[in-house]
C-alpha cells in the first residue's frame, strides 16, 4: 500500500491540468439517481439537459447513478466548488443534502425535483404526472379482459401512491369492474427485480402491466407473456413493440430551458413549481394501433378536458376500507395530493 501512495503522488506530480469550463459560460450540472440509459427517469431528464446544451453560452454535465444521502451531498458540493451556476438534482432523497449545500453556496442556483423544501437559492419542481397516469389508466382499463391490471411500483411514497390512484381512477372510468394489483420492488432501477415483480403479477392473472419504475423490465415481462403493458418516463415501445399500449411520459426540456434563461436574466426566484399536462411537462406517449379508435378518442377528449382545468382527484373518492376521503363535488387540494399515503377503492395492495 505504501508504494501505491508513492504511485499516486507520482501521478499527481505529472499534474496534467484539466481544462476548467470557461468563466463566461453558464455551467449547469445534473445529479441523476440512475444511469441515463434504458428510457427511464434519468433518461427523460437527460433529454431535457440536451435541450440546454443547444443553448448559446450554456455548458452542461452530469453525474449518474448517485446514491441518495451522503454521496449525493458530496457530488453537489463538488459541482458547486467547481463553479457550476445551476444545479438540478432529480431524486427525492437529494432534498436535504441539497439544502445543506445550498446554504454553503448562496450564489449558486439549486433546483430540486420531487421534494417540498425550498431556500433562498433553492427551488423545487415536479410535474403533475398523475394527470397523464389517469389517461394511461383509461387505456389499460379499456384493454383488460381479465379485469386485473398489474402495477409494478417502486416505493410506497406519495408520488407513487398518487400515480397508482390516478391510474386506477382512469381505469375505473372505462371499466368499473377493474382492480389494480400493486407489487412494491423497493427499487427505482433494477431491471431484473422489476421484471420478476411483473412476472409475479402475470401469475395472478394480470393482463395489462403498468409500472412506476425506471427500467423497461416490466415491459419485457409483458412482451414475453404476450399481454399488454403501459410504460413510464419515455415512450418504451421499442422494448415491447407487441405489448406497449402507451406511456405517461416526461418532457423536461422546456422547463429546464425556461429555468436557465431566468437565472441568466436574473429573474429566477426560489419557488415551488408543479406544472402539468397544460404546460406540456407531462404527456401521454402516442397510443399503439392496438388501442381501438373510440378508446383513443375518449382518452384524447379527456386530455383536452384536463388541460382545460378538469380535476383528476374529484370526489366522491373512497379509500380501500370504503371510507369516503374526498366528498362528492369537491376536488382534492394540492397539499393533500402531495401527502397522499392511502390507496383508493379498487387497488389491491398496502401502502406499508
Amino acid at each position: 500500500m505504501r508504494l501505491s501512495k508513492i504511485l499516486t503522488t507520482a501521478l499527481l506530480a505529472i499534474g496534467l491540468c484539466v481544462s476548467q469550463a470557461s468563466a463566461e459560460d453558464m455551467n449547469v450540472g445534473f445529479v441523476y439517481v440512475s444511469p441515463i440509459g434504458d428510457a427511464g427517469w434519468s433518461f427523460a431528464h437527460d433529454k431535457g439537459r440536451l435541450e440546454l446544451e443547444k443553448m448559446d453560452g450554456v455548458k452542461t454535465s452530469y453525474v449518474e447513478a448517485v446514491a441518495e444521502g451522503p454521496d449525493s451531498e458530496r457530488v453537489m458540493l463538488n459541482m458547486a466548488r467547481k463553479g457550476y451556476d445551476v444545479i438540478f438534482a432529480t431524486s427525492f432523497g437529494y432534498m436535504d443534502p441539497m439544502l445543506k449545500v445550498a446554504k454553503q453556496f448562496p450564489d449558486t442556483t439549486f433546483m430540486h425535483c420531487s421534494g417540498f423544501k425550498t431556500a433562498d437559492n433553492m427551488g423545487n419542481y415536479f410535474g403533475r404526472m398523475y394527470q397523464a397516469r389517469y389517461l394511461s389508466g383509461m387505456v389499460a382499463g379499456a384493454m383488460t379482459k381479465s379485469n386485473t391490471i398489474g402495477y409494478v411500483a417502486a416505493f410506497p411514497i406519495p408520488e407513487v401512491i398518487r400515480g397508482i390512484n390516478a391510474f386506477t381512477l382512469g381505469a375505473q372510468s372505462m371499466n368499473p369492474e377493474v382492480t389494480v394489483r400493486v407489487v412494491w420492488t423497493k427499487t427505482w432501477y433494477d431491471p431484473a427485480t422489476e421484471k420478476e415483480a411483473a412476472k409475479s403479477l402475470l401469475d395472478v392473472g394480470a393482463d395489462v402491466i403498468a409500472q412506476h419504475q425506471d427500467s423497461p423490465g416490466p415491459q419485457e415481462a409483458a412482451e414475453e407473456k404476450g399481454v399488454y403493458s403501459v410504460g413510464y418516463n419515455s415512450d418504451m415501445s421499442q422494448f415491447a413493440p407487441k405489448a406497449h399500449l402507451t406511456a405517461p411520459i416526461w418532457n423536461w426540456g422546456p422547463f429546464y430551458v425556461d429555468t436557465v434563461n431566468k437565472v441568466k436574466e436574473g429573474t429566477w426566484k426560489a419557488e415551488a413549481h408543479w406544472p402539468g399536462l397544460a404546460d406540456g411537462i407531462v404527456d401521454l406517449a402516442p397510443m399503439s394501433d392496438m388501442v381501438p379508435k373510440e378508446v383513443q378518442d375518449k382518452v384524447m377528449a379527456k386530455k383536452e378536458a384536463i388541460i382545460g382545468g378538469e380535476k383528476v382527484f374529484m370526489g366522491p373518492i373512497k379509500d380501500q376500507t370504503g371510507a369516503e376521503k374526498v366528498a362528492a363535488g369537491t376536488a382534492m387540494s394540492d397539499p393533500d395530493m402531495l401527502g397522499m399515503t392511502w390507496f383508493i377503492q379498487g387497488v389491491i395492495g398496502t401502502t406499508e
Binding site: V18, V63, A65, L77, P158
Partner: protein, 357 residues
C-alpha cells in the same frame, strides 16, 4: 522441456510484496486506461482526473476520508471475525441495526444533553448490532448452522426492520409521507472538529482502530482469538473456551459495524432513512481481505477505495465517463491485487526437466 511450477514460499516476501502490489495497481490502471480509450476518452487525462478527484486536493482528501469512515469500522468488525475464521458476512445488517438502535435513543430523548444522549446512542447501537451478531454465533455453535448463510440472510431481515420503522412508526409527520425519521436534535448529532469538515467520527475510528490493534496484540483474549483462528483443534485442546470466543467475537464484530451505523445516522445524515444502506457492509469484506485483516492496512485500503469512488464522480462530471466505469476500475483493481497475492506467498519456479510421477 521447461516446466513451470508454483512453489510455496518458505519466508514472506517482505519489501518485494510492495513491488508486486505496485505492479498489480499499475496493471489495473493500464487495463482501465484501455477501457477508457475504447469508450472514447483520453486514457492519460482520464486517469489523471480520476486521481485528482480522489486525492488531488484538500476537498478530495476530505471527501475520501469522510466516505472511508463507515467502511473502516465495518471492515474492522469483519476482520475480527475473520481472524477467528468465522465468516461474518452480516456487517450490512449489523450496520443497519446499529443505526436503528442509535436512532431509537435519539428519538426517545429529544431534550437530553449530548453527554447523555450520545453515549446512550453508542451503547444502544452496539447492543443492537452485537445481538444481531450473537444470533448467528449461537446458531453456529449450538446447532451447527453455517454462519455465512445465516449472517447473509439476517442482513435482509435487518434492512426490512429498518424499512418497517422508517416507513411506519418513526416516519416524520412533517415529511409528506416520505420515509424518513424527524431530524435528530443538535445534541444527538456527532459534530465536526472545529472549523474543519471532519466529523468527530474520525477520532472514533482512530481510537477504535488502535484499541483493535492493542486488543489483538497484547490481550489474552486477542491471543486466544489468533490461536484459535490458526488451529481450532489445538486451541480447544489447550483449553481455550472456543464457543464463548466465537460468540464474543461476533458480538464485537457486530458492535463495530453498528458503530458505523450510528456515526452514519448521527453525523452524516442526521436522521434515519432507507438510503443509509449504501452497501458498506459488503465493501468492508473486500477491504478486510485486501488489507489482510491488519487494522492499519484496513485504514489505508478503505481510504483508497473510498477515494476511488469519489474520484470516479469527478471523472463523470469532467469527462462524462459513464458511472459503470467506476465499477469496472474497482473490479480490475481488486482482481489484480488479489491475484498478485499469489506472488507474495508463492514463487514461480522454472525447471528444465519434467518430473516423473
Amino acid at each position: 522441456m521447461p516446466l513451470i511450477r508454483v512453489v510455496k514460499r518458505q519466508e514472506p516476501l517482505g519489501w518485494g510484496s510492495c513491488l508486486v502490489l505496485a505492479a498489480a495497481i499499475g496493471l489495473s490502471l493500464l487495463l482501465s486506461g484501455i477501457v477508457l480509450y475504447i469508450g472514447g476518452t483520453s486514457p492519460i487525462e482520464g486517469i489523471v482526473v480520476l486521481f485528482k478527484g480522489a486525492f488531488g486536493n484538500r476537498y478530495a482528501l476530505e471527501d475520501a476520508i469522510i466516505k472511508a469512515t463507515p467502511i473502516f469500522l465495518c471492515s474492522l468488525g469483519v476482520a475480527l471475525a475473520f481472524k477467528l475464521q468465522v465468516w461474518n458476512i452480516g456487517a450490512e445488517g449489523q450496520f443497519a441495526l446499529g443505526a436503528v438502535g442509535a436512532t431509537w435513543v435519539a428519538l426517545s430523548l429529544p431534550e437530553s444533553p449530548s453527554y447523555v444522549v450520545l453515549p446512550l446512542m453508542i451503547i444502544m447501537a452496539a447492543v443492537a448490532g452485537g445481538l444481531w451478531g450473537l444470533i448467528p454465533a449461537v446458531l453456529r455453535q449450538k446447532l451447527k448452522t453455517n454462519e455465512i448463510i445465516v449472517t447473509l440472510m439476517m442482513n435482509y431481515i435487518a434492512i426490512l426492520i429498518l424499512d418497517y420503522l422508517v416507513y411506519g412508526i418513526w416516519k416524520d409527520p412533517a415529511s409528506f409521507g416520505f420515509p424518513m425519521t424527524p431530524e435528530f436534535s443538535e445534541a444527538a448529532i456527532v459534530g465536526k472538529i472545529g472549523s474543519t469538515n471532519y466529523s468527530w467520527g474520525l477520532v472514533h475510528c482512530l481510537v477504535l482502530g488502535v484499541s483493535f490493534w492493542v486488543f489483538l496484540k497484547y490481550s489474552r483474549l486477542g491471543y486466544e482469538i489468533k490461536a484459535s483462528g490458526d488451529n481450532v483443534r489445538a486451541a480447544k485442546y489447550a483449553g481455550i473456551p472456543y464457543d464463548r470466543l466465537v460468540m464474543l467475537v461476533m458480538v464485537l464484530s457486530g458492535a463495530l459495524a453498528a458503530w458505523a451505523g450510528f456515526l452514519e445516522a448521527s453525523s452524516t445524515i442526521n436522521r434515519l432513512q432507507p438510503s443509509i444502506m449504501a452497501g458498506y457492509g459488503y465493501t468492508a469484506i473486500v477491504v478486510a481481505w485486501l488489507a489482510r485483516l491488519n487494522p492499519f492496512y484496513i485504514g489505508v485500503a478503505s481510504f483508497m477505495l473510498a477515494g476511488l469512488r469519489v474520484g470516479v464522480e469527478g471523472l463523470q462530471l469532467d469527462l462524462q465517463v459513464p458511472a459503470a466505469f467506476g465499477g469496472i476500475i474497482e473490479g480490475l483493481l481488486l482482481l489484480t491485487v488479489l491475484a498478485g497475492g499469489l506472488f507474495t506467498s508463492y514463487r514461480i519456479v522454472v525447471t528444465r526437466k519434467a518430473h516423473e510421477h
